[in-house]
Amino acid sequence: MSDTQTVRPVEADQAVQLSYLEAPAARRARLSTGALLTILGVGFLILGVQVRGEARFALSTPFDPVQLPTIALPSTVTVLLCAVITLAVGVGYLTGRVPRGATSGLGALAAVAVFLGFVSWAAAGAAYPFPVGNQLAGTIALATPLVLGALGGVLCENSGVVNVAIEGQFLVAALTAATVGSVTGSITAALIGAAAAGVAMAALLALFSLRYLVDQVVLGVVLNLLATGVTGFLFDQLIQPNSGTLNNAPNMQSIRIPVLADIPLLGSVLFDQKILVYIAVASVIAVTFLLYRTRWGLRVRAVGEHPHAADTVGISVLAVRWQAVLLGGVFAGLGGAFFTIGSTGGFIKDITVGNGFIALAALIMGRWHPVRAALMAVFFGFITQLASQMQTLQTPMPSQFLLMLPYLATIIAVAGLIGRVRAPAADGVPYVK
């Protein structure tokens, strides 16, 4: 981080230009993004030369009322085109020739090119066309719990309490939703139960971190273990022997929004969904409003950034943190419910398989902001669904590499290689008067 841009001597007859001095961190981010894109572009060039056949994308299934055509792209041309775009943007970043206003736009273009190129390469010459609708529907299904879990984390961490226990909240809520749903036969009761379970876990988190000042990362890890243990124990001891009465919850039915759901391709994906999907979308809006447009939200952010200052103006730091953590528990609990009553209905041990940590990754990649975190959650859902599609298409790319992507992206982000992520200043710091 030593050298900033060298200042060139100004020639006498040259017009003096205002120079833009780049911060070292921004420069490092620009260079590493450029390097990454360049490498990807070169990789695509090689793939593009090798790839054969057509990449076909099916826009509708045979059962759809409106049939959209199946798009066939010549894979060589498509992959090469994407390679050139990626490479051009990468080199632009590296040399610093990208106009300052266009960096994010071109970055997004490169990202689209990377994905289109990748999918075209993967789908080329496959026996079946790539099912676009399937991909989108799977993305929504996978992203819903991630969005809700990330929102829970957003509330918690903006108030200054680190939450690595999202996984534990998911697990306990998933079990509760399954049992409450089975006993009552009602989805609403199951959702309320799941939210309550999320709040109960959040209360443990708040109690031990705020009252007993246990280190929050340690606490999160231990709470996850406790949640795995308790749900596993209850499942073995009580639920599995009585699965007919305790693990037989009804599934959420799709709610169809008239007219909008009839739009081809996107309609059924977006407007013919389970109630939790709509709740997730509404929650993103609600949490954003709450955090950035209300007095309470300002207080939450204040105690997360500078608790001493907040205390000085009369805000009760501990009370606000308690409220934020408990409210976060509601969202994490609803997210957990999706694993049982949102999909197959039954609970099995470790049903959440690390999704709580992907939600955490989305939260960090979204830089602790509800909308960005939700978008990241959708992105991670997209990748996970793409990985399972790859398995069915039998592409040369191992699906495990795609499944690593969320975690890898998070590491790259926290290492400050692409953009900078900064946590709330007092995140994880206990407040003692």
């Binding site: 273990l225 406790l226 209850l234 499942f235 009580l238 290689l417």
Partner: protein, 392 residues
């Protein structure tokens, strides 16, 4: 949580008294955990819970049923952990990887680093060791030595990446290690399907069994050379921390990185060394799983769940052992006993093995919150004790 907690350095007597109180809190935590575990058992057993419906009519029924349930379970747990030479050997076998990984987490704690990544480091240790075990065919002693070294390299490399990122870019090691755990397990899932690892004639993800020459020699049942290696590692970590210059730097950086930097120590270098050594130790835990004989006398072949949740258990071991080598050995033995006794408990008392995990989490939760324990049991309260909350 580390040694900074509540030890006023004013004379030997006071220090011993503080140590006694720490031990008392630990013991009380275990007692509380057993109590909560018992409650959980009673509530979740339909037969016992049914008897509570007519509790006020015939309280004897409910109480005796509860007592029977709880006492058989804990008795089976105890017998399964320490009741016979075979049980003791099983406990030692379970404890060996927990001690190694616990040392990895504890060492990082002492440098003020959270190594949540022992899981990933252990996975890479197991991958490297198992590969040497089944792919290379070397003479007896050489084979096991090469396999152990390979495992250490695997774990150490995975740890070094974290230290490197932390030192060079300031990336938060908690987040990096959590993410790297998942990358490691996905890598294992991928490797197991490649020709290099796939057992000939099988399509499910399982590696070939390792050669007998690469196995840790059994001394008695599951009590094998690996346990001695774990104890030696603990002694090594003690020497490193308390007797070496590097260890002094590690503790100094852990206590106050700014002061350490001012005193001329390189915080970045210390971070990298610490995470590499922590990775080596956690890698050794993976080696234990790959090369140590299981209950059937042969090592379990490399598969997806080979290392279990050792990385997360290691955090509890390090916390209970208060990040000190000797403490970690005892904590590892205790949780090893919980694991191996849990199997007996499942077989003889019909109580699910998962209860061990609940007890483990509860013990550590209480140990981490000494104030809570003192609130519940007021006689443990020390006169005017200043407790500095949390390791940083």
């Amino acid at each position: 949580m580390t040694d900074r907690a509540a030890v006023p350095a004013t004379g030997r007597g006071l220090r011993w008294r503080a140590r006694g109180r720490t031990l008392a809190v630990t013991a009380a935590s275990m007692l509380l955990a057993l109590l909560v575990g018992a409650l959980l058992m009673i509530v979740s057993d339909p037969e016992v819970a049914d008897k509570f419906r007519y509790f006020f009519g015939r309280p004897g029924d409910a109480l005796s049923a509860s007592w029977a349930k709880v006492s058989t379970t804990y008795w089976a747990l105890l017998v399964g952990a320490v009741g016979s030479p075979t049980a003791l050997a099983g406990t030692a076998g379970q404890a060996a990887p927990l001690i190694c990984a616990g040392l990895g987490v504890g060492l990082a704690f002492r440098a003020g680093l959270f190594n949540i990544g022992a899981q990933g480091q252990a996975i890479w240790g197991a991958i490297f060791a198992a590969w040497v075990g089944f792919a290379l065919h070397l003479p007896p002693v050489v084979h096991v030595v090469v396999a152990v070294l390979a495992g250490l390299v695997g774990g150490g490399l995975w740890g070094w990446i974290v230290g490197f990122l932390k030192a060079k870019t300031g990336a938060n090691e908690v987040i990096v290690t959590i993410m790297m755990n998942y990358i490691a397990s996905q890598s294992l899932a991928w490797l197991l399907l490649t020709p290099a690892f796939l057992r000939p004639g099988r399509i499910d993800p399982i590696a070939p069994p390792i050669d007998a020459t690469a196995m840790f020699a059994s001394l008695y049942g599951q009590f094998h050379v690996g346990f001695l290696l774990a104890v030696a590692a603990a002694a090594g970590v003690w020497w490193l921390l308390d007797r070496s210059t590097v260890g002094f730097a590690i503790r100094a950086v852990g206590a106050n990185p700014h002061a350490a930097a001012t005193a001329g120590m390189s915080v970045g270098r210390t971070t990298m060394i610490t995470m590499t050594v922590a990775g080596l130790l956690a890698g050794l835990a993976g080696v234990q799983y790959a090369l140590g004989p299981g209950a059937d006398g042969v090592p379990t072949p490399l598969s997806l769940g080979l290392v279990g949740t050792v990385g997360f258990d290691a955090i509890t071991v390090a916390l209970l052992g208060r990040s000190r080598p000797l403490g970690i050995v005892f904590a590892g033995l205790l949780f090893g006993g919980l694991h191996s006794g849990g199997l007996a408990m499942q077989t003889f008392a019909g109580t699910p093995l998962t209860l061990s995990q609940v007890l483990q989490a509860l013990i550590v939760l209480f140990v981490a919150a000494p104030d809570l324990v003192r609130t519940v049991l007021p006689f443990l309260r020390a006169p005017k004790q200043a407790v500095v909350g949390g390791a940083a």
